[in-house]
Amino acid sequence: MGGTMGWHLLRGWTVLVYLFMFLPVAVVVLLSFNASQFGSFPMTGFSFRWFVELANNDAILRAFQTSFVLGLMTAAISTTLGVLASLALVRYRVPGSNYISTLLIAPILVPEVVLAVALLLFLNFLGINKSFTLLLFGHVIFTLPFVILVVQARLVSIKRDIEEAAMSLGASPRQTFFQITLPLMLPAVLAGALFAFTISFDDITGTLFWKPGGVETVPTQIFAMLRNSISPEINALGTVMILLTVGLPLLGMGIARTLSQKRGG
């Protein structure tokens, strides 16, 4: 049957596409456990050697620390701002809220390089030097849209009736927020925070422009290491990064799902 044949071809093609996308990643993960100095097949033995070396590499540990602090602060600030902005846009009649909404989402639409250069030039113009704060500021700008999109979507689905009912029962607007609105949108808030963290942790374009001298995040550190030589340590570092950036959101989604199931959605 021609139909069956077609399906087989399609299936084969799909497998090829997936291989094309994920094979390089798999190779990196595989080679990170290679015992030999040179990343080549066949592998000469299984070893955690490169992970141990990674753990003893001060520059990388510092980069990790920087990335973590940066990611956590970005997530905290973006999530707070994002939740407040979503509340304002969805629950209150703000003049020009459509324009504000578009403006807040805009950083996703603008190429990151453009955004990076623009912010840098703007701060130069103001006479402000590169600093960790500037880096943080930059990360907040382009993670904020993700938080807003996720939280806003959830907030729209929480009926105003429910909050009005809480207030009629004696809860002040603030008590209503903490008792009703926040718990109901918590899955979205957590998802937004995770997004912000992962995007910040992963970012290289903006970070290269904004980071002050001597400060390296994990991606810029890898980039710097790659310029000298291809050390198997990088494979190990890549594996750790993959674990973090894939694992964290999955974990977050899992937690969010359990939470919303337990609470009766």
């Binding site: 009736d161 009005e164 809480a166 009629s168 004696g170 809860a171 109901l184 009766g264 959605g265």
Partner: protein
């Protein structure tokens, strides 16, 4: 339990006036229904009493105290919504206990009062469940329990039965009325469903286009409509142009092209002053379709007519009847077999069943 007064309330949304100069007195313990089509301002009024909207002009008094500037969470009102609005992340018992947490109720009393409220709505065993595990009717009972457990001064019900299916709606109607009578709380009920309004209310406030058309007991509003709108909105009515000849103590004498001269009791024409153009209001169920050859009893007007269409409704039938220039509606119980389209019949009418309005 408290009275509610609206004094010259006006509510505008931008250029749109949702409520026009409305004054209303709701007695302590009364069950008052705001009835009208969508967009008539009934929900706007309810939300202003609740404190969810601020009136543009006028005053709202609860128990004689002006509450315009009192925020909703300090008004001590019970509010029930069309879509239940239960807190999905809290159990039924937590939902019902919610309002008690903001009042000085000792924690030992909270569980007792929650149990009592759940018993009152006849759902004593669902405290540990989550709202989504209950049916629509059960959720609405919980919403009611949550609203009354705080012993509100006023209970505000915003189309609470509209989301339920027909059978359940009638059960809940009886149930709601039973609970309201038992706790005796002043209740303001908003609906667009005339049968709910007629069945449940002590008083009905008929509203249209932001205005109060009539306030009265159900029979009063139904039998003596104060305006053409009320006559049309509650049940089916025939409204005929008439000429008022005179008004005396016994009644008003009207003349219509179809029914000739007839005398409508004075109490059924309270707004009709004296001679001049008027409207005769005949309820569709008061217009009796009879066989052509049957003799009419005394005091009954009988005129020849032709059936144009028949709308069979099971226990009753609705006839569209041509009499002279006019097409009239008659809703009659079915005696043996209904008439058919094309039948020549007599239309019978007792003048005491009619009402009269001034011609606006």
């Amino acid at each position: 339990m408290s009275s509610v007064h609206l004094n010259n309330i006006v509510k505008r949304f931008g250029a749109v006036t949702a409520v026009q100069k409305t004054s209303l007195e709701i007695q302590e313990g009364a069950f008052v229904t705001l009835l009208g089509p969508s967009g008539c301002g009934k929900t706007t009024n309810l939300r202003m009493i609740a404190g969810l909207l601020d009136p543009t002009e006028g005053e709202i008094l609860i128990d004689g105290k002006r509450v315009n500037d009192v925020p909703i969470h300090k008004r001590n009102l019970g509010l029930v919504f069309q879509n239940y609005a239960l807190f999905p992340h809290k159990t039924v018992a937590e939902n019902v206990a919610f309002g008690l947490k903001y009042r000085d109720v000792p924690s030992s009393d909270i569980s007792r009062r929650v149990t009592e409220a759940l018993e009152l709505v006849q759902l004593p065993d669902v405290g540990e469940r989550y709202p989504k595990e209950l049916s629509g009717g059960q959720q609405q009972r919980i919403a009611l329990a949550r609203a009354i457990v705080i012993e509100p001064d006023v209970l505000l019900l915003d189309e609470p039965l509209s989301a339920l299916d027909a059978n359940l709606r009638e059960d809940m109607r009886v149930e709601l009325k039973r609970i309201q009578e038992r706790i005796g709380v002043t209740t303001v009920f908003v609906t667009h469903d005339q049968s709910e309004a007629l069945a449940m209310s002590d008083q009905i406030v008929v509203m249209s286009a932001g205005r109060v058309e009539q306030v009265g007991a159900p029979e009063e509003v139904y039998n003596t409509p104060a305006s053409e709108f009320v006559a049309n909105f509650l049940g089916a009515s025939n409204i005929l142009a008439a000429e008022c000849k005179s008004r005396s103590a016994e009644g008003v004498e009207l003349e219509t092209p179809i029914f000739g001269k007839l005398v409508v009791p004075a109490e059924k024409a309270p707004n009709l002053g004296g001679a001049g153009p008027a409207k005769l209001v005949i309820r569709a169920e008061k217009l009796l379709v009879a066989a052509k050859d049957a003799a009419a009893p005394d005091g009954v007007i009988s005129v020849p007519a032709t059936i144009e269409a028949v709308d069979y409704q099971g226990q009753a039938v609705r006839y569209f009847v041509r009499a002279g220039e006019a097409q009239l509606q008659a809703i009659n119980m079915i005696d043996q077999r209904p008439f058919a389209a094309g039948d020549e019949v007599n239309l019978r009418l007792r003048p005491i069943d009619c009402a009269a309005l001034p011609d606006q």
